[in-house]
Symmetry: C3
């Protein structure tokens, strides 16, 4: 495995700002070409992937979109989408759905990814 | 190491519902026979292992018991039991005591377990 | 790698008491000579490294100083210091500054350190 691999875990809406700052700092510090970053959202944190009229939400989705363009994978847990009654079709194109977010966290760590829970 | 190995960490009572949902989803997604799961409770989270008259607590212990029957290990930190003035004899049979929960978290990770902090 | 290696992650002031108790228990349980411990503070948690007139803060810094004498590394994220408008010169001698706390968390894990997020 060349470079670094990291999986971030978020399950609370309030942690998004901290998580995105962490991801930005990591890319700035190590260089985009030296790191693979996956962000796994489950629990209530998946709600924020859905665009609404809120200004903070708009800004959040803009920042996520910018980081996605830099190669960061943003992932939503299907169990959490169902639990929060979210229609998958409403998710932005930059979000990937996995059957269980927790499985993603386990599999990536078993492949050698570091785990960070902001 | 065949299959997957995961250690969950909980130190806040409020996280139990999320943690048990994560554990259930992991078992459903990967299959019970393909995963070893240990749940380490320290800090205030050990209090919830003790049965009381509260309906939510009853439901929590029922869910823990069901997952234990599926092979999940539930662990309590002895330091935290002492700190919370909990008599060990009051713990349900499905809870294992370790001297320090944090040591368990370190040792399992050093053996290759993934770490998840809901 | 002989013995155990652990990196603790803290980004909320409220978690310091739990974190220091975890670190103390780990040293007591495994023996100081068998474990390397690094504590990475980022986000709002870096603020508590700065001495103020508050009694709780004094006690916290005393405990950190004692653990540092036992060999524990205490680290502050420079991005977070800047974000919280903290003058680096005010940091106690037992705190090391790194450019990005999150990078430290990734690099240590890639070297085999266990990760704990109290």
């Amino acid at each position: 495995m060349e470079g670094f691999n990291v999986v971030f875990h978020i399950n609370e809406s309030i942690k998004w700002a901290m998580l995105l700052a962490n991801v930005s700092n990591l890319i700035k510090d190590l260089g985009q070409e030296n790191i693979v970053i996956k962000v796994v959202a489950n629990g209530a944190a998946v709600v924020d992937y859905i665009s609404n009229d809120n200004k903070d939400n708009n800004e959040l989705l803009n920042r996520i979109s910018e980081l996605w363009k830099l190669g960061v994978d943003f992932i939503a847990c299907k169990n959490s989408l169902v639990g929060n009654k979210i229609n998958e079709n409403l998710l932005p194109k930059f979000v990937t759905i996995v059957p269980a977010g927790v499985t993603e966290l386990v599999k990536r760590q078993s492949e050698g990814y570091s785990y960070i829970r902001p």
